[in-house]
Point group: C2
Chain length 204, copies 2
């Protein structure tokens, strides 16, 4: 889904809402556990109930991978069931050296048919760029995350200036892509940072 299609969906549905699909079998109501594919059946119920109110769905891969190949099957079926009416985010936090990142990009964009995938920036440019080469597909790079551990490295001050690591990540990464193939993760637990971050990447 490209930028203008996504903006159209947002306008049409008057919503920015993204629904997480972090389907944890330990927390799913018992009635779904009797299904052959409980993860998919639960997701289906969530999707059916929310379709009209949201523009995006975000399954986190950890909850699917922990079920082995059966989990990947549930993931694939979920993405297919969502279809083209909504933007899909594979929350997978991938990132590897160049040629290997290309295979991850192929996995999520071509094999699984997702619109976007979340990316960890630690390995730098050649780990991010392979995700920027697919038409209508997006890399969503971790900048400032919502967890306590964000303070360990992301807030580290760099050199003599005022810049912190997450700001460097935003600036540098933004120069590798554009507002049609690159988004950023900024945790909603840090609303006080959003204005400053908007200044660095106004159109992403």
């Amino acid at each position: 889904m490209n930028r203008s299609e996504l903006i159209e969906k947002i306008r049409e549905r008057r919503s920015f809402l993204c629904v997480g699909l972090d389907t944890d079998l330990a927390k799913v109501p018992a009635k779904f556990l009797r299904a052959e594919d409980p993860v998919f059946e639960f997701n289906k119920a969530v999707i059916d109930a929310t379709r009209d109110y949201c523009v995006a769905y975000k399954p986190n891969l950890a909850f699917y991978e922990c079920l082995g190949k059966k989990g990947w099957e549930s993931f694939e079926k979920t993405i297919e069931y969502i279809g083209n009416s909504h933007f899909t985010i594979a929350d997978a936090k991938r990132g590897d050296i160049g040629n290997t990142s290309s295979y991850y990009a192929k996995t999520f964009f071509e094999v699984m048919g997702c619109d976007s995938v979340t990316i960890a920036p630690y390995m730098g440019r050649d780990s991010v760029e392979p995700f920027l080469k697919f038409d209508g597909k997006w890399a969503i790079v971790l900048a400032l995350t919502s967890n306590e551990g964000a303070f360990d490295f992301q807030f580290q001050q760099l050199g003599l200036g005022e810049e912190r690591l997450f700001e460097k990540v935003l600036k540098k990464t933004a120069s590798w892509g554009n507002d049609g193939n690159l988004m950023f993760v900024v945790g909603a637990t840090r609303p006080e940072m959003l204005t400053d971050i908007r200044k660095i990447v106004p159109d992403h």
Copy 2:
């Protein structure tokens, strides 16, 4: 495999060698492509030929995931075929917020039966710690990677001192674990850094 078992294997086989299993179907000899599971058959041939000369195997997940659930099956079969005689590294470069990282740890350590998994440090402590809680299992944290992109963030100088981001990652991460559950990735393309890094983490 715990620390003393690993050291025993190294002594016994007089080898530090780790064999990568980055099985790219575009590069595998044609005869394997006729097999029902070409990735596994190729891996099997590599493992049979190298078993006596190495102590570890390292499949990179990107090459398996890009084949969807069939790829995960090949990965599972490969780990099982290696067995307990060798140390196994799932080169997956995972990392997410705490509860989600726990599911990734469960995936690779319990479901897949790997000895270790590579971890991206950007999200900090709560993204790494869940991998340190399994007996005889290891987190291998990215410190200084071998690719060109390592210069983008890993070499960033922090604050007023001499410390660079990768050194901060080594020091901080080392304080979360011990030499029985934590290793580090240092690219062999940077041999000139190894002495300094050894000083920071002498026993890892």
